[in-house]
Symmetry: C2
Amino acid sequence: MRIPIDRTSDVSLYRQLVDFLAGAMHTGELAPGTRLPATRELARDLGLARITVTTAYAELEADGLVEGRVGAGTFVLPPPPRPASLSARENAWPPWQLSLAAAAPAGPVVYGPDVIDLSTGVGDASRFPVDELRRTLAGVLRGEGLAALSYGDHRGDPALRATIARLLASQGLRTSAESVLVTSGSQQALALAAQVVLRPGDTVIVEGPTYGGALELFRSVGARPIGVPVDRDGMRVEELEPLLQRHHPRLIYTIPNFQNPTGSCLSARRRSELLALAERYNVPLLEDDFVGDLRYDGRAQPALKALDPGGRVLYASTFSKMLIPGLRIGFLVADGPVREAVAAAKHAHDMATSNLLQRALEAYVTVGRYRAHLRRSCRLYRVRRDAALAAVARHLPATTRVDPPSGGLFLWLRLPAEVSAAALLPEAVAAGMAFAPGGRFFPEPVDGDGCLRLNFAAQPPEVLERGIERLGRVLR
Amino acid sequence: MRIPIDRTSDVSLYRQLVDFLAGAMHTGELAPGTRLPATRELARDLGLARITVTTAYAELEADGLVEGRVGAGTFVLPPPPRPASLSARENAWPPWQLSLAAAAPAGPVVYGPDVIDLSTGVGDASRFPVDELRRTLAGVLRGEGLAALSYGDHRGDPALRATIARLLASQGLRTSAESVLVTSGSQQALALAAQVVLRPGDTVIVEGPTYGGALELFRSVGARPIGVPVDRDGMRVEELEPLLQRHHPRLIYTIPNFQNPTGSCLSARRRSELLALAERYNVPLLEDDFVGDLRYDGRAQPALKALDPGGRVLYASTFSKMLIPGLRIGFLVADGPVREAVAAAKHAHDMATSNLLQRALEAYVTVGRYRAHLRRSCRLYRVRRDAALAAVARHLPATTRVDPPSGGLFLWLRLPAEVSAAALLPEAVAAGMAFAPGGRFFPEPVDGDGCLRLNFAAQPPEVLERGIERLGRVLR
């Protein structure tokens, strides 16, 4: 036990010891039932005379804070009511802290069980075969032992990288294991790309609206996101060139397939144009393909990365959205010198993603299993999308507009004129449903206040129906 | 399958399809035995006539690349020798990539089995009870099911944060669960602190020598590390003030306990002085306590964070070094506005650390278990330290200097005059041992070329003896 003892203080050593231990018991840090170190041991550790420790323990016992049990040691008792003097420690933060005070709390709001939450960004994990994953994890630990717990290659487990390359090839994106960097979710894939190519003050082109977590990320590295409008065919690439000329962005971030939040898909013509513009203006493309395979109808579009003549596109994706939530394993596919740069950033940031989870994922995922899960997910979510669209038509005012998406997880609604999504949200929550207000998807939140996003994939049709009916009640 | 098809190309659609699939088979991305999508399905996905796909498959079959099995589908055959035209794709990287070309490959060198590797930075995991962890993981998945796989609080699992706070209190650092942020290893704890307080061009004070991964990190965010010399009592704090006046650093990074690589411990007097200087010059302290509890003799020193009057110290530590390797779970303890800022940076960077691993660690770690493991580790490593010191005295030239460390994992050797550690390393590896050359621990590598670091904790005494004997042979 390393207790701070100030030998230059006017306060006696034994008093300092008593104050420290009593304080820790009052705050619950030393929980009832905890055994204190033996007096001999603590005296040696702290360089104190043993009598100092014995006296301190005796005082604690006299105060009813600990109990000595013969032959067993000294144990912490349940705490008496906390004296007022210990309850609040006044903090005068140092000046460097004050400049950080503006940081808004991040992270999702968690709603109560009475609220139908259609605000989330993930699919439905309830059918995920947890038992199979449990057996796989146990098998990996049994079969590989400590090797599964070693620090692995910071680029990722070689076998998993090969599996990811095969999986991508089976979906039409040809790449190699060497081009794959395993990350902690696709969020880290985006973050590493951003860290490598962006500096504070840089401009980054995004879709307006786009994924809120990407906006948060770009702002956190000091970059300034500028939005290009989105229509049914994805980013309005024809409006991109003037922005490239005016702002000299250092990165273009795009979600070409089943865009978050609009659900739109970038047309084939715009894909070529976007690649040509990125080439002409020498700007890297960061492609976020978070649910590119979740297609319910319409024609499949190749990933931008599949059209990349070499080193123009950084491609981020994940297993979290669809296959296994909570494992936090994603990947970035990159070629050229930037590949080593993102790998170095990964190593500098967190050394490597947990080897155990990578080995378990590698043992679990095969191309066949992935495709089977994909087919099941598409069947399930197609029905839910249709149910959500029907509920919107049935329960929301006729002036609400929605473009039916051909894949992904989301419906993007344009509310009737004059309705503010931000103002609507507390009323909706009071009525028992939650949505994601449009403002959080735009570089300038005010641009999205007439819109909201509904997740149709995470809930069964009857719950979607009920949630959207509640939204309709609030809107009228 | 999303295959890039260019409808504006002069190349026929069926030819594009054949080229894509044949290419993927030649590179092994479409592995032998893989079933191709049914022609009807692929035609629908790509918006092609079915005859286009059938023709393409027929050509692939005629070329001996695939085999149609009646009623079962079309399967990829083992590849014929790769034609020269496909073997090398010439890449002309875009200009933005070229500025990244300097990024050095990161990550540890892996030596062959004949080399006794004393260059690593971790303890000995071989006694870690893998079976217990396996049972714990299985128990968590059985008991909590999908909840264990959900996206958790980005600050970390609340129960684990409370356990970490109790563990720290039991070791003399009073804190609360609210102050603890769970991270992916202590490397990420350092990285988040660096990202929040440092901007490109900033100066950061470090010990010279210090942990190489921290130098790599500070450089990766564009900051400039400046070293303060270290002696037996840790950082020479008396040399710090002129540096604070001259460089206006934005951060002081220190490893006060069993410093990496020197093994030295910051004295009590210097601890107070360091805190006072950080206060006077308004600089945050980042305390890296990666093995603070691994003490073999001497007096325990409180963490700087335990002496912090409030919000001056960011405290990083981990379970990876000692308790469970490979899980990649660490933590940052912070108070004041910076706490919310690092939590927001965590969310922006990778959302959250795997909930499953956090739940397993929380189920596995108790204060009692931690202390028992700590006692065992200290007993084990004390013997190894002594064995390594004896071997150094026995086998290395008398002009080699080493300060016996009272804890931690490392011996820091000053080589005889004129010996370069960087030049010595290949010879040592050829002789069957590896060390960490001193240069990688200094902001200016040349300052450390007369030194090297040996890990004494990861190998049993007889292996240490043999490795150091080999080093001695090379030195003479």
